[in-house]
Point group: C2
Chain length 382, copies 2
């Protein structure tokens, strides 16, 4: 299949590209290096070596004989998108091309402005490029479980049947996110839903929880192929940060009470979920929404897990609560449902002690590269 | 009070500016003439004389001795907004500065792109300009009843308490709009709600139905002060189009079955609602949502009303159903609630036969200027 990966330089975009190319798909990646630029701006470079996309594609081709086509360009620029879509004619497009940092989106006007305009226009251009050039192309869009926030009712899979005054209708599940970044994904969802209704495009929205890990089948072949693994406060998700802190001998920084609870998944399961979505496409005129996580943990549970496994490995892990830089509930109910991807065939890779130990071992190779200045929160919500 | 009116050249912006100036407020209007530009592009100029803002402000000042400050600039450009907010320091900002045409938003990539980026960035810049320069300033944002769509349950006033599996929470009322223009207002609402929660700004979102009329206390002083009255398919709301068709002897163009039902209001009530919202501001950290309409009509009921009154005046009005250019339900339930503005003191000006006759009489003065080419739909939903 011809697969276009928008944001193909990212933590998930690049390993997705390799996994699909390894399976024999024709893969093109498009990326503007926005994440690299922001990482330099904010002193948040990834832990592991991070050759540019062209260099990585060369390494991958030498090792596998498979080619990944690389285009450096801006998904928020329609000229670029229309050129890529009209020439490559993708049958599926995986849309990761968003500014993905919640703290960055909350720094100031400029970072918020970039987040809003990059994310909305990347999605908007994807919709129009598909409608103009490849109307049958399946759009697989990465949303986030963060769109739902932490409501007092069960989180259903994208939709909610509402009974009100004795009458019923079905709506998008109510969304209320905790950062501008997460809010842009709410806006994306609203926009995609409109164009699905109006033009009959086919869309899968993967509502993903925080991802952890740095090992995939292809990434394990060569360290230059490792997904850009972030442990900083800007791009690092909590589990990746904790693992790195444990290795560096820095106390794990729990924000506030640590009762913040979310659905998590292993990076290998992200690749599997995207693959399942692609092989079982949404219908024309369907916005299919799938909640993408495999296990639910509180921040305290993650910290305990890393401490237990790390201590067992002789790391002497400390855990320290610090003032929460974010505005969020620190103790709350969290019941989220996720059956769609299991029904499509997902077999979760759970966060066992072996998995945690494996990640710690891998990070230890890069211990000298850990910069303690990067792990403390630098962006405070108002 | 120092009142800044964004989109102050518009059908509602300009009469609001005059009404507030007449009451003794310090009024500044900011407008980029986007609507005038689009009107020229699409051959959709207004029916009545439409001097530029500076010229209108001069006429108004000569007649009343009251000054309206005019700034021509783009609300989607933050440099402009930060300059205006830091110098004028508004206590209330009325945000009308959106590309308001549903058909224009559905024409092609470029018109959709302008609609999305103008509307989202105007709202985004308003939020940031308030946070940066005037954090106590009350944002009064014009939303639209169209954000709610035509659900199968009662339309409540902005919010909905949802009971699900025995538990309860309160959310924004579900929104699903029928055009990209209306969808941008859904995105605005989501974004405003996020910044209200995160930063404690004060916002009133007026969910307005279609407005009709061309007469306000101040506009009646001189024809050069009349709000730009549109009867074309791009900017003309249905009632204004019907009135003009009746005067021109063109059959009233009912789209499809004509059962499309909405809440309407007289332009004088728009001014009153905005005034009531301003004099009873939202609290800090409150997103107050008010449904702004006074009566509910189907398209067929509007056509019958115009025909009855018009025939009585000797106009011999014909009504003709044409293929619906839009994708929308033509027969549906519509029960929408609106009590907030009544509680604040709104006394509706209903669409009596006298009111209809008054509008027809006023439009007759401009009969020679009616261009029949402008009334038929030129934009088809896919």
């Amino acid at each position: 299949m011809r697969v276009l990966i928008l944001g193909g330089d990212g933590y998930l975009g690049w390993p997705t590209a390799m996994a699909f190319a390894a399976k024999g798909h024709d893969v093109m990646v498009l990326d503007s290096y926005l994440r690299r630029t922001i990482a330099m701006e904010t002193n948040s470079e990834a832990l592991t070596p991070n050759p540019n996309l062209g260099a990585r594609a060369s390494v991958f081709e030498q090792l596998t004989g498979k080619k990944i086509e690389v285009v450096i360009g801006d998904c928020a620029d329609y000229r670029t998108m229309t050129t890529v879509f009209s020439q490559f004619k993708p049958e599926a497009v995986i849309h990761y091309a968003e500014q993905p940092s919640a703290p960055y989106s909350m720094m100031n006007f400029d970072t918020a402005h970039v987040t809003l305009n990059n994310n909305l226009n990347a999605t908007f251009n994807t919709i129009f490029a598909v409608m103009e050039h490849t109307p049958e192309c399946h759009i697989i869009k990465l949303g986030t479980m963060g769109e739902y926030g932490t409501p007092n009712i069960d989180i259903e899979e994208g939709w909610l049947e509402i009974e009100h005054k004795g009458r019923k209708d079905k709506f998008l599940y109510p969304r209320q996110a905790g950062s501008l970044y997460h809010t842009t994904k709410v806006l994306d969802t609203d926009m995609l839903w409109f164009y699905v209704r109006a033009y009959g495009i086919r869309v899968t929205d993967l509502m993903q929880g925080p991802v952890y890990g740095l090992s995939t089948t292809e990434a394990d072949m060569d360290e230059r192929l490792i997904p850009n693994f972030h442990y900083d406060d800007i791009f690092g998700t909590v589990m990746n940060r904790f693992l790195t802190q444990a290795v560096a001998g820095i106390p794990l920084t729990v924000y506030g009470k640590g009762g913040q609870t979310r659905g998590y998944l292993n990076i290998t399961d992200t690749l599997k979920c995207v693959d399942l979505a692609m092989n079982n496409p949404a219908e024309s005129g369907q916005l299919r929404i799938l909640n993408q996580f495999t296990e639910v943990f509180s921040v305290n549970e993650l910290a305990e897990k890393v401490k237990r496994v790390g201590d067992h490995m002789g790391l002497n892990v400390q855990v320290k609560s610090i003032d929460n830089p974010r505005k969020e509930r620190e103790e709350h109910r969290y019941v989220a449902h996720s059956t769609g991807l299991m029904e499509l065939g997902l077999k979760p890779h759970l966060m066992t002690d072996e998995v945690v130990a494996g990640m710690l071992n891998k990070i230890m190779k890069y211990k000298d590269r850990i910069d303690p200045a990067k792990v403390m929160p630098r962006v405070l919500w108002p």
